[in-house]
Structures are given as C-alpha cells and as structure tokens.
C-alpha cells in the first residue's frame, strides 16, 4: 500500500484521533442517558463517532486518490509567534504591560524575514504608547504598567 495523498493521510488520522478521543472519553466519564432524556455523553459520542467515520473515509481516500504532499512547516515563525503570545499572557502580571509587550514584539519579530534591532525597537515603542493610550487610559483596562518588582 502506497500513500498517494499524504495530506489526506494525516488529516484522516487527525480526525480519527480526535473523534475516538471525544467518544471514548465521553463514554468513560459521563452518563449516556437515553434518546428521550439524553445524558451529557450522548451528543459527544454521536459526534465523535461521526468524526471518526469521516476521518476513516478521508484516511482510506489517501490510498486511492492521488494528492499533493504536505508542504514543509515554517517552524521558525510557528514557534516564535506562538511562544511570543504565550509569553505576553504569562508575563503580564509579573512584568507589566511594558515587559509583556517587549517580550511579544521582540520574540515574534524574530520570526519574520528580517530582524533589525532599530526597527523593532521603534515598533515596540510606538505600540507601547498606543497600548497605553488606548487600552489603559482610553478603555481603562486594569493592566499593570510596570514590573511588579519595581513596586508600582
């Protein structure tokens, strides 16, 4: 058996995996109920099963229909953009808006094609002023401005 369409192969696997997971987890942990009085597991099991079947059809199709290979993943932007966002969230409380925005801007900018310290610093300063003016002053969102350690 040769995989003719790698995209369908992986997509099929992904759907089968998620479908089975939802269906099995639901049956194991929640009440199924009856068709008249559906329990919390009823609809998820129905959907999980359906997703599994759809996944299986896609998976099977990968061996019969010619398709294109999965294009390469751009790991650099993928990782740096995701990490940048997560850092922003988790650094907001300890480092304040100033620190969190710096982390997001510099880390994510490193995921782009070109990284010039001067340019990114300017972008950072502009964004910082904008965030402060619009979100902290304008919309009065309760964000800490400065790092906790500074005692503000």
């Amino acid at each position: 058996m040769r995989i003719k369409s790698p995209r369908d192969f992986w997509a099929g696997l992904m759907f089968i995996g998620f479908g089975l997971f939802f269906a099995i987890w639901a049956t194991a942990h929640y009440q199924m109920g009856t068709a008249v009085r559906m329990g919390p597991a009823y609809f998820p099991v129905l959907l999980g099963g359906l997703l599994g079947v759809l996944g299986l059809i896609i998976f099977a199709g990968a061996f019969t229909m010619e398709g294109t290979p999965v294009p390469a993943f751009a790991l650099r932007p993928l990782i740096l953009i995701s990490v940048g966002c997560v850092l922003y969230g988790y650094l907001m409380k300890p480092l304040g808006l100033v620190g969190a925005t710096a982390a997001l801007v510099f880390v994510s900018a490193a995921g782009g094609h070109e990284f010039k310290w001067k340019e990114v610093t300017i972008v950072y300063v502009v964004l910082m002023i904008f965030s402060w003016a619009v979100f902290v002053k304008g919309l009065t969102l309760p964000f800490p401005m400065w790092p906790e350690a500074l005692g503000y």
Partner: protein, 501 residues
C-alpha cells in the same frame, strides 16, 4: 408602509451622532484592513469583540458590520493596484483590475469598483429590509426539530459552498461542534472535557478560537511568503470613468448585484462566493470573453458589486434565524451573545431599534465608504508601502491584549496560541478553518434543540422527517450532499474554485 415606518425608525437610530461615529470607525477600520493584505475581517472583528463589551448593542453591531462591508471596498484597492487580493473576496478583481492599472486605467477601475459596490450596497440594504421581516415571521413558528434541521441544512450548505474537499469540510464542522461542547453541560451541570482545568468550565471563548484559527495561524502562513509588492501609485491620475466605461459596466453591476444578493443569503455564501460567481457569469455571457484577464472593466464591476451585495445579504439568515452563514456572521452572533441578546427571529420584534438601526447604518456606511475610498485613495495607497514586518507584531499585540482582557487570564492567550498552531496545521492539510468556527458556535445550540426535539417526540427520531418544515430542510441537505458528491458536479465544483482561487 410598515417598511417605510421601520426604515425611518432605523435611520433615526443610525444618524444619531454616536452611531454615526461607530459606523465611521467601523468602515474606516474595514477599509484599512481591506487594503492591507494578510489582515482579514474575521480576525479584526474577533480582535474588537472584547472591546464591544463596553458599547451598546446597536453601536457594537453597527461598528462590526461596517468592518465587514468596509473590507470589501478596501480589498479592491489592493487588488487593482498591487495585484494582491487585500481580501479573499477580491481575488478575482486582481485578474482584470490589475491589468487595467497596468494600462494606466487604475483610476476608472477603482471608481467603478467603488460605485458598483455602493449601488450593490443600496440594493442589498433594501433587500434586507423587505425580505427579513417575513422570514423572521416564519422562523418564529419553528420548534426544536425545525431548528435542528435548519442548523443541519445551514452547516451542510456551508460546507458544500466552501472551497476545498467536501468531506474534510464536513469533518471540520463536526470537529467544531465537538469543541463547542467543552464546558458545563447546561442540562446536567456536568463538566465536559474540561480535564480538571477550571478555566474550561465555561467553555472555550469563541473569540479566542477565532483569533487563533484566523489570526495567529494566518500570520504564520503569511510569514512563509516573501513580501514583494509593486504599487502603481503614479498611475492613479484621472479617477472618473469615461462614458464608454460606464456603458460597458452598468449591466455587469446590475448582474453582479443580483447574483451577489442571492448567493449572500445562502448558508456558506457571502462575499467570497459572490465575487467568484459574478466573475464566471460575466465571462460566460460576454460577447468577447477573450477580453477578460486583459483589463475588461466588467471583470472589475461585476465581482466588486457582487461581493458587497453578498457581504450585506449574508446578514439576513443571521438576523432572522440566528444562524450564521459564514465565519463573520458567527462572530456577529457572538457579539449579540456578549450583549446578552439571544440571536433569533425574536430580535426583530423585541429590539426593533437594533435591527432597523443596523440596516439603516449599512446604507449610511456605504455612503461614507464612497467618500473614504474615492477622494482619499492616495492615503490608502501610501498605507500599502508599510512593510508586513511592522504590521504583524502590531496585530499580535492587539490580539493578545484583546484575548487577555477577556478575563485577565493568561490561560486564554495560551489557548489562542494552541488554536493558532492547530489552524496552521489545518491549512497545511488543506482543511478549511471556516466551517469549524460555524460548528463551534452552533454546537451547544444543536445539542439543546436535538435534546428538546427528542424529548417532545418521546425518543422518536423520525420527528425530523415527519414534520413538514423539518423534513424539507433534511431533504434539501440530503439533495445538496448527493448532488455535490456526483462525479460530474464534483469536478465542476473543484474547477470553479481552482480556476479562480
């Protein structure tokens, strides 16, 4: 007469200074993101949803709607001048619009795009005013089984009309439905799929999902491509189309508007499908199809009118039935729910100022857009010279602030990043994220209606095919699926999307 009365009420709401302001902000932002390639209305509306907490429902909807139809105007500017679609719905405008720009006729192309859009916007606004009330009237009589079948139909139609593989689109819908079930089950109070994480007990905010799937995922995809732009700035000299241009394009505008209005109402329709459809139609019926792709003005006029008409009429199912026909409408429903308004046919009767105010604001917004886009075209062209490397960190900051501010919880930002990675993987595997977001928003609603329908029928599943309205939806869904699965039509469908996508 009642329509007139209602429209007067609507205009009264729409032209109050505060709503004019939000309408202006909406269309301005819409034009801005429309002009900028790589920033779509879905991500923008998702970004702004948290801010709408502080606004009145009318102001919030007026602004968000303005972003959607405003983006249709802005998208054409980029398509014509740079040959890059600013929005996915202006992909076909590139074909002839850019050729016109190369021949030094960028001005007339931009003008006809804006005027065509304005005309289409006016017609679509009237159409909503005429068609929505009777539809809502019918929908008020729907019981749970009708609603369930309607949602099935909506989701099926949305996948059929989406581009790419049909079965993958259906799988994405089901996947979205499952994700929508995460959180507390309203009937039993059981926490489902929360895995002991307290933040998940209210479910995953769909703003977060939308921002991840459409925002961060899109940025990552964009960063793969080198940005290379050639802007025809110097060529925008005479703006107004000649008599000859107008003569060639008025019929195309009419056809584009008519087709766009029809396709917009269909679930899964909206701006994208309308512009593709209108372009194909023009090419088919033209006496000189060989002119297309070489700067035919009809090739700009028809799709640009159609995408604006489609963008606006796609509000009809959302406003009257509470069913989103595309990802933007799913976000609109989210905006209503944030405001504590249950979307559905009752909105029109209970909140006439919201309904009619929104409709009237669309006309006002379209008028603003013509002014924003024609005399101020130079400003938007300048914006195109801003490199993407400045833009994407800014977009990320706004998205992260928006998500973080939902509940001041870093966990939300983490979830956004996870959905971003998932969205990116889906794009790589050729699974469209749009059907998933429709499923996500409809998941709990579908379960609720299924439960109630089954309870009322004492567990008899045939209720869905014995009640006439429900049966009609089910049969329509089945026919759609069968028809699309037929080899001949399947090939045609793929051709349509490959040729123009």
């Amino acid at each position: 007469m009642e329509i007139l009365h209602n429209l007067i009420l609507g205009f009264g709401v729409a032209i109050s200074p505060i709503h004019l302001l939000y309408c202006f902000i909406g269309v301005l932002l819409g034009t801005l993101i429309g002009v900028l390639p790589g920033v779509g209305p879905v991500a923008t509306i998702a970004m702004l949803l948290p801010i709408t907490f502080n606004l009145s429902p009318v102001a919030a909807l007026i602004m968000l709607a303005g972003i959607y139809y405003g983006a249709q105007y802005g998208g054409s500017t980029t398509a014509i001048l740079v040959n890059i679609p600013g929005e996915s719905s202006s992909v076909v405008t590139c074909l002839d619009g850019y050729q016109m720009a190369r021949q030094g006729r960028a001005g007339p192309a931009l003008a006809i795009a804006a005027l065509g859009s304005f005309f289409a916007g006016c017609v679509a606004t009237l159409l909503i005013a005429v068609a929505a009330p009777p539809l809502a009237e019918v929908a008020l009589k729907f019981g749970p089984s009708e609603y369930f079948s309607l949602m099935v139909f909506g989701l099926v139609a949305a996948t059929v009309l989406a581009h790419g593989s049909l079965i993958k689109a259906i799988a994405m819908v089901v996947w979205g439905l499952l994700f929508g079930l995460i959180g507390t089950d309203v009937n039993s109070g059981v926490l489902r799929f929360t895995f002991g994480v307290p933040e998940l007990s209210d479910g995953i905010g769909f703003v977060i999902v939308a921002m991840g799937m459409f925002g961060t995922a899109e940025i990552i995809s964009n960063l793969e491509l080198k940005d290379k732009r050639e802007v025809f700035t110097s060529k925008v000299t005479h703006l107004y189309p000649t008599k000859e241009d107008l003569k060639q394009s008025w019929a195309a505008v009419l056809r584009g508007t008519a087709l766009g209005s029809c396709l917009g109402i269909l679930p899964g329709g909206g701006a994208l499908l309308s512009s593709f459809g209108a372009y194909s139609l023009e090419k088919k019926i033209s006496k000189h199809p060989e002119r297309f792709g070489k700067g035919a003005i009809e090739g700009v006029a028809a799709p640009e009118s159609a995408n604006n008409a489609g963008a606006q009429t796609s509000f009809i199912p959302m406003l009257t039935l509470g069913i989103p026909s595309n990802a933007v409408m799913a976000l609109m429903i989210g905006a209503l729910m944030i405001q504590g308004i249950a979307p559905g046919p009752q909105v029109m009767n209970e909140k006439p100022e919201l309904f009619w105010g929104l409709i009237a604001s669309m006309w006002v917004g379209n008028a603003m857009l013509v002014i924003l886009n024609l005399p101020l075209i130079g400003m938007w062209v300048k914006l195109l010279t801003v490199p993407y490397r400045y833009l994407f960190p800014s977009i990320l900051v706004f998205m992260s602030i928006g998500v973080f501010s939902l509940s001041n919880n870093p966990f939300d930002v983490l979830i956004m990043a996870i959905f971003g990675v998932m969205g990116y993987v889906c794009v790589k595997l050729e699974c469209e994220p749009a059907p998933m977001i429709l499923g996500f928003i409809l998941g709990p609603l579908m379960e609720e209606n299924l439960r109630r329908a089954m309870l009322l029928s004492r567990g008899d599943p045939t209720v869905f095919i014995t009640k006439p309205i429900s049966a009609a939806f089910m049969i329509a869904s089945a026919i759609l699926l069968v028809v699309v699965a037929l080899p001949a039509i399947r090939k045609k469908r793929e051709e349509v999307f490959v040729e123009e996508g």
